[in-house]
Amino acid sequence: MSTVGTPADRLPDETLLAGLGAGDADLSVAFVRRFQAVVFGVAVTVLHDRNLAEDVAQQAFERAWRHAQMFDGRQGTVRGWLTRITHNLAIDTLRVRTSAPVDPGDLAELLTEVADSTERVAVARDSAAGLRSALRRLPKEQARAVTMAGIYGMTAREIGDAEGVPVGTAKTRIRYGLQKLRAALLPEDADDE
């Protein structure tokens, strides 16, 4: 490649996405390199299977390529958009593959990882740091319920079955847990229930 001027890997996310959508080789390569660890991370976290995760991650990039023109920067970031695509694909794959609830050990490990502040907070966005903090402050049963629903795509009924509680209780945990996380992202509204 003979790139002069601003290298493609320093261009904004939106420009790389535009290039991917248009089939530009240099921008497509830069786009994949920039986001492949994020996409694969989401997929393998949900699926716990590297082979399945790679297939899902490839599908995610293909969808981004196919639907790049539908990205709307007013609605969020490219990273968020791509993460959502990947997550939905992973959840669909998970549902086809198994009806078993998430392994309790995996859930505990994931909760520790996403709420851990020791490594990433220094470079993270304020909202991410606030969310991690709020996640740590949640009652454990609410944190588990929100994680099972939000990351593993489990319904309230599935969460109730996994936790041995009535479906109404699972719904309440999801609701209050997510509301508290939302409050953490809206400082003026932040108040622990």
């Binding site: 001027g5 996405l17 535009a18 994949v32 390199r33 660890a37 959502r84 695509i85 629903a149 997510l178």
Partner: protein
Amino acid sequence: MSEPTDSTGTSCDGFAAMAAELALGVLTGRERAAALAHLDGCESCRELVRELTMTGEELLALLPSREPPAGFETRVLERIGLSAASRAQPGPRRRADRPADGGAHGPAAGRPPGRPRTRMRSVLSAAAVVVALVVAGLGGWGLRTATAPPTSSSVGYPSSALSRAALVTTAHQTVGMVFVYNHTPWWMYMSVNLGDVGDVTVKCQLENAHGQFTTIGSFRLSEGYGTWGSPYAIGDGIVGARLLSANNTVLATATFS
């Protein structure tokens, strides 16, 4: 909240009990249908769901990154029609051909090289795209379109924000591609392959709706080929671009439709 109940009998309080599950995409069956019906007529509850959806997406953003297996990048590029061989080709010919939305998955191997593609057509077919996106599982995007019927501006925005046009010489030869991101931060990018012209410096200008050209910058081509990107500060409303030689001879022009 604006209305005590909607036509399905769901109140805002009743909806609030389902909002988190709807936002996380785990509400099923009749509850989901009732929730969406309520949202159609309740702006404040739409805002609640929007905030909860954003919260869910922030939660996903906390997931750890993981390096994929070796060769992943190559396999992705092959999947979208950018094989290593095609990437080795110069300049504007190095583009993936994509099937029209709704077609079979995978690159459209049968599309003739250089044939104008029909990306805009899918954007204009709003209803079909909305359905496709929901089926494609694009999450909040599907929710947004489901809860607020798309307007012409919302549907048209992406295509107008991400414009592209071919750089064409006076001899009608396509020698590159220009991309303009018509939204803050304004950025442009171009790839150029002028062929056998050696190592030369070229200049890029953008044209506004009043026909005024502004020089954005210059860059050097290596053996006639180069890619270049730059922010620009002349606002939106870009209608064209042109490539000039060092002595200001117009080498190629592009017009954004």
